[in-house]
């Protein structure tokens, strides 16, 4: 302030520059964080993905420009890549189908009973209080061959005597859906909670029945919630390696990209392949997400 006062007539011109300097100072920690923990690791990842095995030191890798690794991993793991996105898509669709009515009830129907609204929100968020690893393990127990679910389904002849649930794609998609429901539910709830029911009344007044009103008014007005919910579910689900791991709900027939990356990094110690797969995963998600956001209308999302 003292300096500004001394500056005299130029004060008004100085003001905006001072403001931008403050903005820069405030941004600095964020920029520093992003550079250190995103840009640098990302460059390192790109470099690793292009490395070749060292000819002199076994187990070491030399810097090179070997883009052939990308071609190799896509050829080798195309099944797992496609499966990852298919599973993520299924989990997103199921989570949406399950969460929308739930979020609609909490956000719109339960407005008259704030207590019920609060209680139901707590129930949606409560699972976060327990590690998702533990919850997924619990599901492994529940769905295990000795568990009551399998025995009951076998008794009803839905499952054959040799069938399992754990280790199958069904269990993995179930696990993904279950784990991501809160991520779908909360953004949906926030948009539906703000939904002005007077629009629904107007639609009703203009000859639209319940179904037409839902399709023409409710869904478009809750689109921001649908878009952020599906993104929050699809992106992490596509790269998830816990549910599909054989230690949890998965098996050899349900391996996803995350598991392949994990095994390349930690078991096979094939760092270039793992790095290349990671970059491919990131790139595909980026393409899908930007196409999706563009189609559903960015102005609604922002």
């Amino acid at each position: 302030m003292a300096i500004a006062a001394l500056a005299g007539p130029t004060v008004t011109q100085e003001a905006p520059r001072k403001k931008s300097r403050i903005a820069l100072v405030l941004l600095l920690p964020g920029i520093f964080y992003l550079v250190l923990f995103f840009i640098v690791p990302f460059i390192s990842l790109v470099i690793t993905s292009l490395q070749v095995p060292s000819e002199t030191n076994f187990g070491q890798f030399d810097t090179a420009f070997n883009w052939q690794t990308y071609v190799d991993v896509v050829g080798q793991y195309s099944t797992q890549i496609l499966r990852s996105f298919f599973f993520a898509l299924l989990a997103t669709v199921f989570a949406l189908l399950f969460s929308y009515p739930l979020a609609y009830f909490i956000g719109v129907k339960a407005r008259r009973w704030p207590l019920l609204q609060g209680l139901m929100l707590v129930l949606v968020i409560a699972p976060f209080f327990i590690s998702f690893l533990l919850r997924t393990l619990a599901w492994k127990q529940i769905l295990s061959d000795e568990g009551f679910v399998v025995s009951a389904l076998k008794a009803l002849s839905v499952l054959g005597p040799q069938d399992h649930i754990t280790g199958t794609p069904v269990a993995v998609v179930f696990g993904l859906t279950y784990n991501f429901i809160p991520f779908m539910c909360l953004p949906l709830y926030t948009t539906l909670e703000r939904l002005d029911v007077r629009y629904l009344e107007a639609s009703n007044d203009l000859y639209a029945g319940p179904f037409a009103t839902f399709r023409k008014v409710t869904i478009p007005l809750s689109l921001p919630g649908i878009v952020s919910g599906t993104l929050l579910t699809f992106i992490p689900a596509a790269g998830d390696y816990v549910n599909a791991s054989s230690e949890f709900l998965g098996g050899s027939s349900s391996t996803m990209m995350g598991n392949v990356i994990q095994s390349n990094f930690l078991v096979q110690l094939n760092y270039p392949a793992a790095a290349a797969l990671s970059i491919i995963l990131m790139a595909i998600i980026l393409v899908i997400v930007s196409a999706y956001v563009r189609r559903s209308g960015t102005d609604d999302l922002l």
Binding site: R111, V197, R198, E201, S203, T213, L221
Partner: protein
């Protein structure tokens, strides 16, 4: 309404013994009325009197606790809003924010599968002079423009019955006047039945053929605007519709044509035909513009009521007229409007004046002012908030 067809003309609306109770209070208490086809009907009342609830009951957005709603002679009480031949211009406009103006207007036509919805929507927008903004989103329009789009969106469906819920509330005075005229023109042109809810007495009187004054969930008085203004039947109507000078006292003389009421020693005469009650304690009144302000005590003339002397305690100039408040001992303060026939006020502050009016201009009310004065008026905000919640 049959899909793809327009109503040939407005339909009449009949409400039979309508009750609507919300937890804790009664919004509509035994309401019965008939609105003839093709008329412009105004429901006028203070905030919270149940007029919006009445409209929502007609639109089907609210279910009556008991009673019936008939449109064109057909009982629609059990019908859903989208099945009723009714459209509403909402107080909040409720234009769909995700659709363009033209899509908003075409919405109802599309739902009913009317041919050429976009063409008809453009036609409706031309009627409200907004066709050039058809491609905009509602939030890009001003309040007045949004209001006109809301009107076009309802009128385009040619409903047998058009409900207007304080649609001009958000407009400034000039635009309000203009929209009032446009509404009236549209109503006459397309021959629809309009039911207009408002708390603005001037709006109700200028636009409607019939005005019903509502208070506490029931209709106090219904009739042509002039009739309601010149001959109010209750204290509420006398005070809500314009201003009134009211006096309460016992009837001391009764002839074949008139009754005379004693008000703290002053006799006020009212024609029998204009008094609702002829014996006991009655409240009589006169409109402020019917009063003449006199600077000296006039010679008693038959057919004139004179009170005074009183003292002018307030003079406020409003262009075409001047409002005087005259304090008359034992009678209280009276309001008098005088046309500005000369420059400046005719009586100055503190001047001693007499007030006179023709006996034929007075009226006698059915209820007594002191009791009626205790009536409390609820708040509309509570009611509307409850309304929108209750629909969910």
């Amino acid at each position: 309404m049959v899909a793809g067809s327009f109503a040939e003309a407005g339909a009449d609306l009949e409400l039979v013994g309508l009750h609507k109770r919300f937890p804790g209070f009664t919004a509509i208490d035994d309401l019965s009325l008939t609105v003839p086809a093709g008329s412009f009907f105004a429901l006028l009342g203070p905030s919270g009197c149940g007029k919006t609830t009445t409209l929502r009951l007609v639109a089907g957005l609210e279910e009556p606790t008991s009673g019936q709603v008939l449109i064109g002679g057909k009982d629609v009480t059990g019908m859903k809003p989208f099945q009723r031949p009714v459209n509403t211009v909402f107080q909040s406009y409720a234009l769909f924010p995700h659709m363009t103006v033209i899509e908003n207007v075409a919405f109802g036509l599309r739902r009913r599968k009317v041919g050429d919805p976009v063409g008809k929507a453009h036609e409706a927008l031309r009627l409200v002079e907004l066709d050039h903004l058809a491609a905009r989103k509602p939030l890009q329009l001003s309040g007045g423009q949004q209001q006109r789009v809301a009107l076009a969106r309802a009128v385009v469906n040619r409903p047998a019955l058009l409900l207007l819920d304080e649609p001009l509330g958000a407009l400034d005075l000039k635009l309000r006047r203009q929209m009032q005229l446009e509404l009236k023109t549209i109503q006459t042109e397309v021959g629809l039945t309009f039911v207009h809810v408002t708390h603005d007495q001037e709006e109700a009187m200028t636009m409607a053929d019939t005005v019903a004054v509502m208070n506490k969930g029931a209709i106090e008085q219904m009739g042509a605007p002039e009739e309601l203004y010149e001959l109010p039947k209750t204290v509420f109507v006398a005070n809500f519709l314009g201003q009134s000078n009211l006096f309460t006292g016992p009837v001391v003389e009764s002839t074949a044509d008139t009754i005379a009421v004693d008000i703290a020693g002053t006799r006020i005469v009212v024609p029998n035909s204009r008094a609702q009650v002829h014996t006991g304690t009655v409240t009589v009144g006169v409109r402020p513009e019917k009063l003449s302000l006199l600077m000296e005590n006039p010679v008693a003339v038959a057919g004139q009521n004179v009170i005074g002397p009183g003292r002018v305690i307030d003079v406020s100039f409003s262009g075409v007229s001047t409002q005087y408040i005259v304090e008359v001992p034992r009678l209280g303060s009276m309001v008098c409007f005088a046309q500005n026939m000369v420059f400046g006020p005719v009586a100055n502050l503190g001047a001693q004046v007499w007030l006179s009016w023709m006996v034929d201009h007075g009226f006698g009310l059915a209820d007594v002012a002191e009791q009626a004065g205790a009536k409390q008026i609820g708040t509309a905000e509570d009611l509307t908030a409850l309304d929108s919640e209750a629909v969910v």
